[in-house]
Symmetry: C2
Subunit: 195 residues, 2 copies
DNA sequence: TTTGTACATGTACTTTTGTACATCATGACA
DNA sequence: TGTCATGATGTACAAAAGTACATGTACAAA
């Protein structure tokens, strides 16, 4: 019968929504998408259950928003990676990528994003964007085919980092990057249209 | 009140358990691990709900058994891949791997397995075994470091295949394999122990 | 200070899912 | 052919999660 006695906190819709997205992101990266429930988010973000249902039209909406938030997070981290001179100095790029692989949050966020995209068609474009952006950042330095190869490899390395305690070593990354940068394109480097 | 009237089918514990595992595997590959419920398995395998709870002690047990079954399935498919001559003739190995990537069931099974392993510690060893086996099959031909690099790349390619309609082209795979086979080891090919 | 609206809260209800179990058929064996 | 243990079935109950909503508070405007 009695409802809503205990004193609501200050009104801050944006901050509140953000707090819930952060909480949801943490739940996903720590326990997987299956663990994402209204109640878990409410507890973690320290908001009421009602808030989680009011700011998101459904649990699917909440999940999608959370994954979108995670995508933005790792995208920002990706933006800090310095690919300059990757062709001539692969050690540096490898160290940069190794830094990403040591960030468990980023690693698990990436895995959750990609795995969700493989399952849910609605999230596929979001997952693909991650790949595309990675390739986009790399292509100017080494060409499209090589950038794609490294992007694919790096997704594999991210998976590996999520499964093992330790990510691949800097040396291993360096060797692979060096080899793929020097790789000739699939057929020719520049694409050709034929009749 | 009334229970169990409608005529039970022939008794076949092994076949029944197998039918449920197949159904569970299909559900996982088609709709993701989150869609795996007792009722979904019962409907797909055309057995009673009671059977799904009798053959598996809990839903976690069922999920683990299903993923184990999927792991065995893709392991068998992996065993059919011919890596012979990969060092001198990468086109053939690329074609073999491309064949795997065109099998949507195998691709999604692999993704589900790896993603589950990244989430659930209990399933981690199962997921790691897939990687290890891949490397194990490849190492005799090209050495450990190169085998690991290709295995990591191939996991990325599998993810890619699960996200895009079309997997990477044979040509793209060939180019990468050629580059990674020729890759020098991280430091030296043979490991050294130092004092 | 008063007042009204948007926001926050907790409860209640519904649906989904996991699990236990009473009942009955099946097929092998006596 | 009769009997019995195994196995298969459907229902019932419990727990968990999604969703709706009535209530009450905070803040800003009048």
């Amino acid at each position: 019968m009695s409802t809503a006695n205990p004193a609501p906190r200050r009104r801050d819709p944006e901050g509140r929504r953000r707090a819930m997205l952060i909480a949801a992101g943490e739940i996903i990266t720590e326990a997987g998408t299956a663990a994402l429930t209204h109640r878990a988010v409410a507890a973690r973000a320290e908001v009421s259950l009602g808030s989680t249902t009011k700011y998101f039209s459904s649990i699917d909406d909440l999940r999608e928003a959370a994954l979108q938030y995670l995508a933005q997070e790792i995208d920002q981290e990706l933006a800090t990676i310095d690919f300059a001179g990757i062709a001539t100095n692969p050690e540096h790029a490898a160290a940069e990528l190794h830094r990403f692989l040591c960030d468990r949050h980023a690693v698990h966020a990436t895995i959750a994003l990609l795995a969700s995209g493989a399952t849910d068609p609605q999230l596929r474009s979001l997952a693909r964007r991650w790949d595309d952006r990675f390739i986009e950042l790399l292509t100017p330095h080494i060409g499209h085919a090589q950038a794609t190869a490294i992007a694919v490899y790096f997704n594999g390395a991210t998976l590996h980092a999520g499964l093992d305690e330790e990510p691949l070593s800097r040396d291993a990354l360096t060797a692979v990057i060096r080899a793929l940068v020097a790789m000739p394109g699939p057929v020719t480097t520049t694409q050709e249209t034929n009749p």
